[in-house]
């Protein structure tokens, strides 16, 4: 919003002089209804001093027409009948402001989305509806009052939830611009799913090699307060001023005393499945998630620990760092912006009984294959069959497992990365075992990114990987050797085929985190139909949410590969920096205001407010009445609509203004 020297004095006592500007919007409006007739009709209404039409009022020429009328003193209220306010309300408000008229003396009538676009085939009806919309806008314009934009300061601190590749990149970029970051992750280490990957497509960069430098950077960075094994439990406030409560989960180990010797791990008698290796290996109840974990801290998994006391003995833990009585610690921080980068879960294919996962040992998921290929995984990078720990001579991959499924309860979306990761895993195995037969069963191969098509071509041409176009129907096990016998159609040959392989890899897709509701409830952001976090606009605002000051990035917004995740991390960081750099943010002045003389103190509004913006105050004159905290109020109107005493108005949408729109009929 621009500052201007021009200021037209509005005291509220002058007669309204309403200018009505009806836009053709090309043929969108003009091609359906008669704009000249709408203008003429508007001019017959009381208080309308000017009526004009133009092809595109949003253009410079159009805006100039409005400004000239304001500067000439012909109008002191502006009504534009055109597209949706979501398109050009800011445009026209700025135009008014630049001409010296308070920007809130502007009202927009949507006669495109709300009339000519939806009633394209019924021009007469569209005309009546458009006429009405204009009449309503004029009625409101009569009762508009000048308002001042509110400014709130923005705390120059950011909270990043999730410390995978996305969260870490966002955090680093934020510190480069000079902002402090709280980086929270509920796991005992940073790195996310990327730490589980072996090589990355298409360059075949070792994942750890590109990830661990970032992880070290995070741990060294003095402007990042790293809170691993922690969860955000409460968020109140509003853009620029979020109050965040973070729970630091107990490790049951004093990290200051602990010297990292690891003797406790050897001594611990409890062995459980290692979730980092997806059940392919084990760990103890006292553990470090993986060798290169940052921070390199030991944790006791209390759900598995039996408190036998062995690790606490002085002979085991010399520094006596074990503390079974450890409690969670809660801290409160104030931040100006929040970035959500909470990542994803892998799809669990157990329910697809025709593929035998969980029934036959030699059926594994894509991420499990990744761990087998990993040089610090359970078989140090030499994949073997779970049935006999021998290297398989033949492997089949099935694409789209848990993705592109329109059946009840299925994930309809494409998980985007599986075609490439299967090609990569197949290539990796072929490099170690050139004589092995490898099949990739697919419906489509999606190789959309930079270098991806070339990678796919090379996999077939150079490495001899067999791509079979057919979605596997069912498998059974060869009882003698646990081989997997596959039934599919080779659709390009139009033949049913049966193939026996030693290892069957289900290229499982990406799912939103099972507990993502904990984030949406906490931050009051939305999810789209597929369960990932909802962006403010699918094309133009991919990392914003509909809540100002809160951003999303990475796979938590939708399936994507590492380059796209990093791009979104940088985009979210830039957006957050944009807010924080200014130091203040403007808030529209549409808040609830309580008329103290009418308030009966019943408390209904306090209960109804979803934002906790209303509270009781002791007023000297009227006793205990409700009062609105303007900073928290979002102007939703829930309080106003429910007030039995008609004591609440939303500024800019007062009862008087709204009633004038619906009761006056000329």
């Amino acid at each position: 919003m621009t500052e201007t020297d021009k200021k037209i004095e509005i005291t509220g006592n002058e007669k309204p002089k309403i200018g009505v500007y009806v836009c053709h919007c090309g043929v969108n409006i003009g091609g359906v209804v008669s704009v000249p007739d709408l203008v003429e009709n508007a001019k017959t209404l009381p208080d309308v001093t000017v009526g004009r039409e133009y092809k595109f009022f949003c253009s410079d020429v159009g805006q100039k027409m409005i400004k000239e009328d304001i500067e000439a003193g012909l109008v002191n209220r502006v009504v534009v009948a055109a597209c949706s306010p979501r398109m050009h309300e800011p445009t026209f408000r700025i135009a008014c402001q630049e001409a010296g008229l308070n920007q809130f003396l502007f009202e927009m009538a949507n006669i495109r989305e709300h009339s000519t676009w939806v009633h394209m085939k019924e021009p007469e009806g569209a005309y009546e509806v458009a006429k009405d919309h204009i009449r309503l806008a004029i009625a409101k314009a009569r009762n508009l009052a000048p308002l001042a934009v509110q400014k709130v300061s923005v705390e120059p601190v950011s909270l990043v939830i999730g410390a995978g590749i996305t969260g870490m990149n966002a955090a680093i970029d934020l510190t480069k611009a000079g902002y402090k970051v709280y980086l929270v992750d509920r796991s005992a280490t940073i790195g996310g799913h990327m730490a589980q990957l072996d090589k990355t497509f298409p360059t075949m960069d070792c994942s750890s090699c590109i990830l661990t430098p970032k992880m070290s950077e995070i741990s060294r960075n003095k402007d990042i307060e790293l809170l691993t094994y922690s969860e955000v439990t409460e968020v109140t406030g509003y853009v620029g001023n979020f109050e965040v409560t973070i729970k630091k989960k107990p490790h049951y180990i004093d990290q200051v005393k602990c010297n990292g010797c690891g003797i406790c791990v050897d001594a611990c008698p409890i062995t459980v499945a290692n979730e980092f290796d997806l059940g392919l290996s084990t760990r103890k109840a006292i553990y470090v998630p993986f060798p290169q974990a940052i921070p390199s801290q030991y944790t006791i998994d209390m759900d598995s620990c039996v408190e036998c006391g062995i690790c606490a003995r002085e002979t085991v833990c010399e520094p006596l760092a074990i503390n079974y009585d450890d409690e969670p610690e809660y801290i409160q921080v104030k931040v100006g912006t929040i970035i959500v980068a909470t990542g994803y879960d892998e799809y669990d294919p157990t329910e697809l009984k025709q593929y035998g996962y969980g029934k036959y040992p030699n059926v594994i998921t894509g991420l499990q294959m990744e761990r087998l290929l990993s040089s610090f995984g359970p078989v140090v990078g030499k994949p073997v069959k779970p049935s006999d720990l021998e290297a398989p001579h033949s492997i089949a991959f099935l694409q789209c497992v848990g993705s592109r499924n329109f059946r009840e309860g299925g994930n309809k979306y494409c998980s985007r990365v599986c075609c490439m990761y299967a090609t990569k895993q197949a290539r990796q195995y072929k490099e170690k075992h050139p004589e092995a037969d490898i099949y990739i069963f697919y419906m489509d191969i999606r190789a959309f990114g930079k270098g991806y098509e070339e990678f796919y071509e090379s996999a077939a041409r150079d490495y001899g990987i067999n791509y079979v176009r057919g979605r596997i129907a069912e498998v059974r096990e060869n009882p003698l050797n646990h081989n997997i016998i596959i039934r599919s159609e080779d659709t390009l040959l139009q033949q049913p085929i049966e193939v026996e392989v030693e290892l069957f890899v289900l290229s499982t897709g990406i799912e939103p985190r099972a507990d993502s509701d904990s984030i949406t409830n906490l931050l009051r952001i939305q999810k789209s139909a597929d369960g990932f976090f909802l962006e403010a606009h699918p094309k133009l605002r991919p990392v914003d949410t509909l809540t100002e000051g809160i951003f999303i990035a990475g796979v938590s917004q939708g399936p994507k590969d590492i380059p796209d995740s990093v791009a979104q991390a940088k985009g979210a960081a830039a957006s957050a920096i944009g807010l924080m750099a200014k130091g203040e943010v403007e808030i529209e002045p549409f808040f609830a205001v309580i008329h103290p003389d009418r308030c009966s103190g019943c408390g209904m509004c306090i209960q109804n407010c979803a934002y906790g913006a209303i509270e009781y105050v002791d007023d000297r004159r009227f006793g205990e009445i409700a009062s609105v905290n303007v900073a928290l109020c979002k102007g939703c109107g829930a309080c106003s609509g429910n007030c039995r005493s008609s004591a609440i108005d939303i500024i800019g949408f007062s009862s008087e203004q709204l009633n004038s729109m619906i009761t006056k009929r000329e």
């Binding site: 025709q354 789209c400 592109r404 499924n405 329109f406 059946r407 009840e408 299925g410 419906m443 489509d444 176009r469 057919g470 979605r471 596997i472 129907a473 069912e474 039934r487 599919s488 159609e489 080779d490 659709t491 139009q494 049913p496």
Partner: protein, 202 residues
């Protein structure tokens, strides 16, 4: 005509998307067929396809693209309606229902096996049963029933001639009788043509 021309020259033109068959599916509320991405799960699951030339996916693709020869293809009668494809289709297409609809369209055009036609026209229409126990030829089955202590005929349409009439009235009302008559006429015509051709060849 040169032997090689007959043998090797194939001028089949790919029919585009104005498939009359596809339109019939859409009109019947079965437009989901258009969502098929030809993944092949159906054919891969098909127990019949493993032992015949019937290809679930191909048959439906031919219907969708307007290849009307699929209506005369005997392969479409080799689906045993086991519903495995229906249960596994990732686009949630009720595949088996599509095959059944395709068969309906084929029958409408008179493409029905003689054995099936006889079953519908003579057995089902006349007796109300698909596998009857009345008549001289079925005496042993009535005797078998009695040997197990059951009445020779079950309490179905077999002992309720008014029920048979009811079924026939319904079949007339819903258009089945007309359909069977039309097919009968067509089959007689075809038989007469075939006889004539055989005569001419002699």
């Amino acid at each position: 005509m040169s032997e090689n021309v007959e043998k090797y020259i194939k001028r089949k033109v790919y029919k585009s998307t104005d498939s009359k068959i596809a339109q019939k599916f859409v009109d019947a509320g079965l437009e989901k067929l258009r969502a098929c991405i030809n993944c092949g799960t159906c054919t891969g699951s098909c127990p019949s396809g493993r032992r015949t030339a019937y290809r679930t996916r191909s048959v439906l693709r031919r219907a969708l693209t307007g290849d009307e020869s699929v209506l005369e293809d005997i392969d479409i009668w080799f689906c045993s309606t086991c519903y495995t494809c229906y249960e596994r289709c990732p686009r949630d297409i009720p595949v088996t229902d599509m095959i059944i609809k395709l068969r309906n369209i084929a029958v409408e055009e008179g493409h029905i096996l003689d054995a099936h036609f006889g079953l519908a026209n003579k057995v089902f229409y006349e007796t109300g049963h698909g596998v009857p126990a009345n008549g001289e030829a079925n005496k042993k089955w009535r005797d078998l029933r009695e040997s197990y202590g059951l009445p020779p005929l079950p309490p179905t349409v077999h002992v309720h001639p008014e029920a048979v009439k009811e079924c026939q009235e319904l079949m007339k009302s819903v258009g089945f009788r007309d359909l069977l008559d039309k097919i009968e006429e067509q089959k007689e015509k075809e038989k007469a043509e075939a006889e004539k051709n055989k005569e001419e060849e002699k």
